[in-house]
Amino acid sequence: MKGRLRHLILGGAATLALSLAVAYLSAAPGWQSLPADMALLRVSFTHSGDRSASCRERTPEELAELPPNMRIAKVCDRRRPPIYVEIEIDGATVLAEELPARGIAGSGPSRIYQRFPLPAGRHDIAVRLRDRPATQGFDYVGETQVTLVPAQSFVIDFRPESGGFVFK
């Protein structure tokens, strides 16, 4: 076996072996992203803090200094206050956090996206939100009891137009 024939056979065999190794590694070995007996709870929503507390009425003197087309009586701070969120799972608080308003000027909504891997089985979940800094207690509360199966994705969303927290 000489010259190119040798290279075709040996080089071809080496290239095929490499290609098969590449094909194998393109899908294996597998990666266990979540333990087999676990489910995943995700809490995700955006919500703006209520800035009405920062609003005030302009005085007649202030209004008089403004051009007629800009004489709006009520003036509010552009920045939004943070919202406060608490999550409790099976009686234990897993999250108690003040979420600041987003954006360079702090005028955007607060947002949250959190993952909580949970063992499959029954869980009591409570989630509470305060969007007005002046309020004592919470403006929205949601509670549910859920039985999770392995690899289930359970989501807590928030839609004030639907009455508050949505569990699905």
């Binding site: 190119r4 290279h7 075709l8 040996l10 080089g11 071809g12 080496a14 290239t15 095929l16 490499l18 290609s19 098969l20 590449v22 094909a23 194998y24 590694l25 393109s26 899908a27 294996a28 070995p29 597998g30 990666w31 266990q32 992203s33 979540l34 333990p35 087999a36 676990m38 489910a39 995943l40 995700r42 995700s44 955006t46 987003r102 954006g103 955007g108 909504p109 947002r111 996206y113 993952r115 392995p150 690899a151 289930q152 994705s153 989501v155 969303d157 699905k168």
Partner: protein
Amino acid sequence: MMGLRSVLRRGFDRVERGLDRLFGPDWNPLANLGPLGWFLFWIVAGTGIYLFIFFDTGVVDAYASVQWLTEDHWFHAGLARSLHRYASDLMVLAMLVHLLRELVFDRYRGRRWFSWITGVPVLWFVYLSGITGYWLVWDELAQYVALTTTELLDALPVFAEPIARNFLTPESLSSRFFTLMVFLHIAIPLLLLLAMWIHIQRISQARTKPARGLAVLTLVALVAASLLMPATSQAPADLATVPARVGIDWFLLSLYPVIELLPAGVIWTGVLVFSVLLIGLPWLPRRKEAPAAVVALDHCNGCARCVADCPYSAINLVPRSDGAPFPHEVEVNADRCVACGICMGACPSSTPFRRSGDLVTGIDLPAYSLAELRTQVIAAAGGLSGPGRVLTLACGHGAGGLPEAGRIVLPCVAMAPPALLDFIISRGLADGICIAGCAERECWNRLGGEWMRERVARRRDPFLRERVPRERLLVVWAGPSETGRLRRETAAFAEQLAAQPSYDKARPLSQDELAKGEATAVQRELAE
């Protein structure tokens, strides 16, 4: 660092010697990594265009269309899918080994910085192309990639609403998202192609096609692997569940398990630090390079041989500026010149026979001039004795890279003009010349080996004169780990020369010229 690099370099050399035996030097895949990358890109692009004909953009349609082409039409579309995936993976492998090899061979610093830093975007565009491609299948792996990617992106303070919310529940995902992903999967590879084109702009005669035999072997092997182990989808994505165990593509998605294990801030910092470090490597530390080649217009007629031979596009032909009766002169771009000396070897004025005045050539290296080379040759020849005297002109990056008696070490063997070989034989300085270049599979200075072969074979200008007997030249291509082979072949050549009658047409140098050479040898010994 230098010690580690030397060890790795020898390691590469040994592996490549093994591959030389399997493939032959010209088909050696490690010496063709850049061209292989281009070849694999075109396979991926061609199969991608073909797959696009059958692909549907839709939450349900995407998976169904991929299943249809994989199972019902496995013999053409399924084959194209497997080729698309495996060629992409092989491209990642070729790219990473190419990066490591250039780093180990120290071909990323100094005036070669441009090719290095323009390779960094190529790296990221390849990964981004692969990630967006896996997304389109919309199986469990796609879901895993989508979730992990969007959760990582959400860590950046640029999105008003978390984009991972698109994948919270089956109802939250729209088909328009797949249209966006298809757009990205076409746009990013186009940017990749642009980056690859920029990457090769500062080299001349860039190799974008591998040797035909290697291309055929690669394509046939990929087709065979595609038929033996066809690429398949995993279970369809279901946003009501979490993909707990997924088959990962360890070439394109190997960072994903790391992304899961570390906080997003650490990942983004790591990506940023790695990219900055990679871009900054040519200056950590900066290589002190020899001064760039200089042109002596009095000896240059603008023949453009140096322009044609320069591997780094560092020499340009420009209109004549000194009033001499030639239309052009050459101009060296000092920012690109690596001082390999190939231009000096290509210049017809580089003749060491000249006796009157200083030895000046049309294009010369300030730190290693033709005059210095001539003096070194005479000095080294003075140390040779007995029958079968062999003078070695060695490449500094090959087996003869270390200086020893009777050996001249050059930045590249193509720095030696053919007239120098003629000079050594016809002036009786040696009975034979060993041209010891670097490994045959790939010249350290890209094109020097090829030019030297062509010049010695009298196929490329400047030609070796017919009066130089070919049997008095030994050409050895040997990498740094082949010092033993170089020594053996040189010794055998010396024995062969000793058995021949001496060269009877030699016209020895004058005593003055010899004395000058000997004085230089003494000076060098004292300095050492």
